[in-house]
Subunit: 522 residues, 2 copies
Amino acid sequence: MSNLQHDLNASFVPLPSYKRPFPSDTLAGQSRDAEKRQRRSKSPDLPKAISPPPGALETPKSPGTKSGNEIPAPQKTAETPVSFSRPTFLQLSPGGLRRADDHVGRAVQSPPDTGRRLPWSTGYAEVINAGKSRHNEDQACCEVVYVESRRSITGVSREPSHNQGFSFYYWGLFDGHAGGGAAEMASRLLHRHIREQLKDLVEILQDPLPPPLCLPSTPGTPGVSSPSQLVSPQSWSPQKEVTHDSLVVGAIENAFQLMDEQMARERRGHLVEGGCCALVVVYLLGKMYVANAGDSRAIIVRNGEIIPMSREFTPETERQRLQLLGFLKPELLGSEFTHLEFPRRVQPKELGQRMLYRDQNMTGWAYKKIELEDLRFPLVCGEGKKARVMATIGVTRGLGDHNLKVCSSTLPIKPFLSCFPEVRVYDLTQYEHCPDDVLVLGTDGLWDVTNDSEVAATVDRVLSTYEPNDPSRYTALAQALVLGARGIPRDRGWRLPNNKLGSGDDISVFVIPLGGPGSSYS
Amino acid sequence: MSNLQHDLNASFVPLPSYKRPFPSDTLAGQSRDAEKRQRRSKSPDLPKAISPPPGALETPKSPGTKSGNEIPAPQKTAETPVSFSRPTFLQLSPGGLRRADDHVGRAVQSPPDTGRRLPWSTGYAEVINAGKSRHNEDQACCEVVYVESRRSITGVSREPSHNQGFSFYYWGLFDGHAGGGAAEMASRLLHRHIREQLKDLVEILQDPLPPPLCLPSTPGTPGVSSPSQLVSPQSWSPQKEVTHDSLVVGAIENAFQLMDEQMARERRGHLVEGGCCALVVVYLLGKMYVANAGDSRAIIVRNGEIIPMSREFTPETERQRLQLLGFLKPELLGSEFTHLEFPRRVQPKELGQRMLYRDQNMTGWAYKKIELEDLRFPLVCGEGKKARVMATIGVTRGLGDHNLKVCSSTLPIKPFLSCFPEVRVYDLTQYEHCPDDVLVLGTDGLWDVTNDSEVAATVDRVLSTYEPNDPSRYTALAQALVLGARGIPRDRGWRLPNNKLGSGDDISVFVIPLGGPGSSYS
């Protein structure tokens, strides 16, 4: 990867293997995410308490608790900087934290069976990478978040029941790259941004009437009461139907953007390093909202059927968006890149010949005469897991990356990255779920070496060995999924049963039961 | 519609009814495509021979016939301009042409049963609109097109069999708006642009080896022979796999662009007026390539199953693309439009209040404080068939429209329109088709009043009343589909059996049998 970054005139080359505890010749497949290693050595990690107090789960606040608008920055709790952190719900002791950070043993971590369970009996498991970065750059969060109406603070309401707020259930996986700061910050704060966005919607979402199109001036204005009064009485103008769902989707989208903006503000204090993919689930009023920005993945396995709940955003899947941006804003490409795609690097000696290309409008290929500009490095290059934007980054959506530059250049990459998730909505009330129906979230460490069908098979195999009412079955399933992707150390590498290489990446998995004990929460 | 165009400060209003042979109160639903009427009165129609000679189908040329690169402009064959034309394969006499142009009788037109059949026993039927434009602005084309290798002209070849060229089968539906010129020009020339693009690919597509990534200099260079020799022997650089299919897709995409560019060049001579949607099928070497730019639609009905072969491109389906362009290039919006979407028009008195909005990144809705800029007219407005870009046009892809401007403004709309089709590929060899399996192409006149399932039911109903080997069954099916969408004159309007209004638009339908007599051509 350093070759690619330092010599833009060179052709695509396989990523160099990285110094790790195993001979590199057996681990090529475990060294694929070069951008995650970028600037690792100079990355100052966030200060963080090593071992959070047990039972640190966020509990619903009682209505009426005073709540401000501001989203706090990560706290500096320790005098001496501590180099890394794991999710608080793992309740790791200092010794446990050391084991979780061990690239050689790669012990699978889950919340302790003895402690408090995760909300909804959620299962969770994670494992650190095989040496590609010093610490596990995945982060996770699982919370119950109480949303208090912003308006109820004013004390003016005709419908008190609507002002009592509501809770949402929240799960988030954050896969960091180029440092762990962004993932850690997102895991601590994104759900708070979502809560802030939902505060204006507390009454509206609980009112069966269609959402008002227009609200008087600023939030919290006295005199604003039932949303039904806010519906514009004017029928002179056709108006689009806006659903309650789409307000939640809009709230999540804006929360992602505000989280990203906060990272931009705080990057200068070196509180945030690198960037992260974010895969987030919000359960609210009977519906699951699955928001994905990056290359993590969510699927529902329901009665053996697979329902995809996300898609990945990579240089390949977003090629046309990236090329269009480069075409419309050529200044973003500097003099180093071309927005055209070629099936391989063009060589100077091929000037005047005709090579296959695709521009931002094309899905097919055609021949074009090679001109001088075509010798520039392509904006989008490589295939599969080696696909890169500006020879640097392999995911095209996520949070952070505000400092990310093309190597040996001042060209920023952030303009090509989107912080906006795609949000899919799943209505839990439309189907009678059984305890074996689950929503599985995994970072790319899982999906790099397995697929939807294999995961569904593991769901079936593991859950069938537990009683339906055994709440530990979902953790067991998450552990099985992580173990199955990691493999076991054999033949100088981590190997799967079929002898292929296991995932050398950080691997994190949530298993959320859709019809098990959790359904009593709905 | 004139209200919308002339007063951008007004709110959305339903389209005014248009003067037509029936009282307007019964025909509101038949007056939906205002942009198709725009500037109709000043639209000079293309000169065109009224009645082409029977049997004017293009027949395969023998290999070796000299062929140039140029695409001719529509011929001026008549001294006295003739105001409109219908597809040559209809073989209309002057009297037949008058009947085809009669808005009152709205007789369904098909190729004569006595004449030469359309290639592949294709069925075709059309009917003129109920008065919304003076002439039928739909056009159609059905041809067998021979492609001669550009290289074979040089006479240098080691593989003569590869240089014999090939034929492709071609069907095109062109739904014009704001004048019939663009649709007519496209119906005469688009397949020739496709042929030109395919000329470079004759040997490559017939060679089982992967396409060469790079070709020496210009087409027709002596010394270029088997494509296999052209494959870069250098394995130093990873290269993307490019399929034969994707070359055909690229050829079609480029042909659309070149057709659009030709229209731009020739608009000044008033040879081309308005714009058109284009839905095109190319059958080549065992595969159907269905290319769509606009709001026509193609579906396959196979053993009762519906396989969508296109999607529609409208202000609603392309909202985010349009908004992104307006955001990145605000100069395209002038001072009249905002790229933000609101559920209804913002009123000046609402300044400072908070209204629901969506920007280019959002699929959900959120509230924003209304500022002065938000009072501008939204780039994308309206819903369903009334959705418009810049209050003017209801389709966002197609050919032509180079002169289209926002009314009472010099703001061009063309920058927001894309001439690029989406191309879907269907491999005919992967399934044993029976005579009842068909590909149905229809302009929006058909789909406005019916849906995929109803069309599939009509396919089943009509074809079952004919012998499987009766080649007239596909024309009968096309006629039934057109009749079913047009309805019959009753209660001061064209009515469907359920008493709803039929389509007052031009309606054109191709029915292409996938496993009937046509399969012998493959």
